[in-house]
């Protein structure tokens, strides 16, 4: 009996492994953005440099790819002339797409049984990527200035009068709460005169005078 021939994992060229998925936690890639961050300050350069479609001219699984080539591939290369598109008809093979990026990475993708619109969406997704492997960002920013304030020291933002005061100091040591208390708010309102219709029960003699 002729069984299903499973292509062994090592049959895929090595450079197609470069873009990893998020993966499970143990093999998760993490890091910072490494793309050319000056890109777009002057002119934007699309990081996708070439796409290769392999497909079969007869097979059912390549139907979507064939339709895509018939209707949309010319429009795609007109809109994005910076991307070179190669078409490789291969008899009795599953259709695939290989996208190569300016940073040297490439991504292999299976297009088996995909429809035309699905392929369009995937191609658009690949075009707008930087070619960097998908990874968890340890920080969402990256900068060449490690610290704008300079290296931290214990005296950062400390007022200079502390130099000549003896500690403990009442003014420095007083507790300052983030929010105003209800009593404080009421007192302020009373001072402004915005507080009306309130019964003054404990009115001192000084106030009466």
């Amino acid at each position: 009996m002729r069984g299903r021939v499973v292509k062994p994992s090592f049959a895929v060229p090595q450079n197609y492994y470069n873009l990893y998925s998020f993966g499970t936690h143990r093999i998760q890639l993490s890091g910072f953005t490494e793309q050319p961050f000056y890109n777009g300050l002057g002119r934007y350069v699309c990081q996708l440099q070439r796409v290769t479609f392999k497909f079969c001219k007869f097979g059912g699984s390549s139907k979507g790819v064939r339709e895509f080539i018939e209707t949309d591939v010319v429009d795609f290369s007109r809109q994005h002339p910076g991307v070179v598109v190669y078409l490789k008809p291969r008899r009795h093979k599953t259709p695939i797409m290989v996208t190569e990026y300016l940073n040297g990475n490439s991504h292999w993708m299976n297009l088996r049984n995909m429809t035309k619109s699905e392929i369009k969406l995937w191609l658009d997704y690949m075009r707008t990527r930087s070619g960097e492997p998908i990874k968890r960002y340890r920080k969402k920013i990256k900068t060449e200035w490690p610290s704008i304030q300079g290296p931290w020291n214990p005296f950062l933002n400390m007022p200079s009068f502390v130099n000549v005061t003896d500690l403990p100091n009442e003014q420095r040591g007083a507790f300052i709460s983030e929010k105003k208390s209800a009593t404080q708010q009421l007192l302020e309102m009373a001072k402004d005169g915005s507080l009306k219709n309130i019964l003054k029960t404990n009115v001192s003699q000084e106030d009466k005078e």
Binding site: R2, G3, V5, V6, P8, S9, F10, Q14, P36, F37, Y38, N39, L41, G42, R43, V45, C46, Q49, R50, T52, P81, G82, V83, V84, Y86, K88, L102, N103, G104, T143, E144, W145, I148, G150, P151, N153, P154, F155, M158, S160, N163
Partner: protein, 351 residues
């Protein structure tokens, strides 16, 4: 099994063996057997891990899906420029490639037929002649309070092979270059980028080239610390010189704060004073380091190289600026003075 054994005997090395056995498995009439898959997989990873023979490196052009003409077309479209194809071919041809081709011809016994290909060295020379003055005048336009050493240091950084090669590879030059190696070196890549600028000078003129330089080369200094690029040595001596040039002979470094003396967590903070006004301060683990850092900070404030005040313009905002007005060289650090108009402002104390 017999065929496998025959193959094993015929195989020259482990890679050959693997290839032959994989071929056997995949082409056999009965298809791939489960036990063979497992064995082959183990053999493959062993070959990868320790007794691996490295794959021979191959250039991208050796693959079937490679059309140099359309790659060149896509290259110029990617940058939204209109290079002519002939010019691009010259730009991407390194000197080493032509020499290699000539040698090959000699070996084949036909030295009379000379290879009539130009290399990019002439165009690169044109490019360098444009780049150097333009980068300097651009920097002078935005950094008005620095000595000439700073300008030339940043210029040297931008024109260094590592920076130019990085830019060249990020716009997609690497695989298009024709040279004697498979992976072109930084020098070769930088040469190609300079040649591209030379080609633009020849084809499109000066104004167009300037736009290209602003967009692709000068954007590299965005978000960079100029003082760090400059790497000014001996800040305190430099500070005393600068103050002397401005008629200030005395400055006073004072210990502002200290903590944890004689421990590994020692921290000292030194401030630089002129006329009892604080002009800069810095901290460090010893007094001498803190003093140096304070001088460095004072200089940074004088040269206006703080992150808030180094503001460059890129892209369309910078296209119409007349950079020719700032082509005059600044004075060197030994003779550098604060601008008269805002001397008071620049030496004001820091609150």
């Amino acid at each position: 099994m017999a065929t496998i054994l025959r193959n094993v005997n015929a195989a020259k090395n482990i890679r050959d063996l693997l290839k032959k056995s994989i071929e056997h498995c995949t082409r056999s009439e009965r298809g791939l057997k489960r036990w063979q898959v497992d064995t082959l997989r183990v053999m493959y990873w062993r070959a990868q891990s320790y007794d691996a023979i490295p794959h021979p490196e191959r250039h991208r052009r050796e693959w079937q899906n490679w059309n140099y003409k359309s790659e060149l077309f896509a290259f110029s479209q990617r940058l939204s420029e209109k290079f002519s194809e002939e010019m691009l071919r010259v730009c991407f041809t390194d000197k080493s490639y032509v020499e290699k081709e000539d040698e090959q011809r000699k070996e084949l016994g036909m030295p009379e037929i000379e290879l009539r290909t130009e290399n990019n060295s002439e165009l690169a020379a044109i490019g360098t002649n444009k780049l150097t003055p333009f980068i300097k005048s651009y920097l002078r336009y935005f950094l008005k309070n620095v000595p000439e050493e700073c300008i030339s240091a940043v210029h040297n950084y931008l024109m260094s092979d590592t920076v130019l090669a990085d830019i060249a590879s990020k716009i997609g030059c690497t695989q298009l270059i024709l040279c004697n190696a498979i992976n072109p070196s930084d020098e070769v890549k930088a040469q190609v980028l300079r040649a591209l600028i030379g080609a633009l000078m020849k084809e499109k003129g000066e104004k167009h080239t300037e736009k290209f330089i602003i967009d692709f080369i000068l954007t590299y200094i965005n978000d960079q610390d100029i003082m760090e690029v400059w790497n000014l040595p001996q800040a305190e001596i430099a500070l005393s010189n600068v103050l002397k040039n401005n008629g200030i002979t005395e400055y006073e470094p004072r210990l502002l704060r200290e903590s944890g003396r004689n421990t590994i967590y020692a921290c000292f903070m030194v401030g630089m004073y002129v006329d009892k006004k604080l002009i800069g301060f810095g901290s460090g683990e010893t007094v001498s380091i803190a003093r140096e850092m304070a001088a460095y900070d004072a200089l940074r404030r004088m040269f206006k190289l703080t992150p808030a005040s180094t503001l460059f313009k890129f892209g369309k905002d910078a296209y119409n600026i007349d950079f020719g007005s700032s082509s005059q060289e600044y004075s060197l650090l030994n003779e550098w003075k604060l601008l008269d108009l805002d001397r008071k402002h620049q030496l004001k104390s820091i609150s």
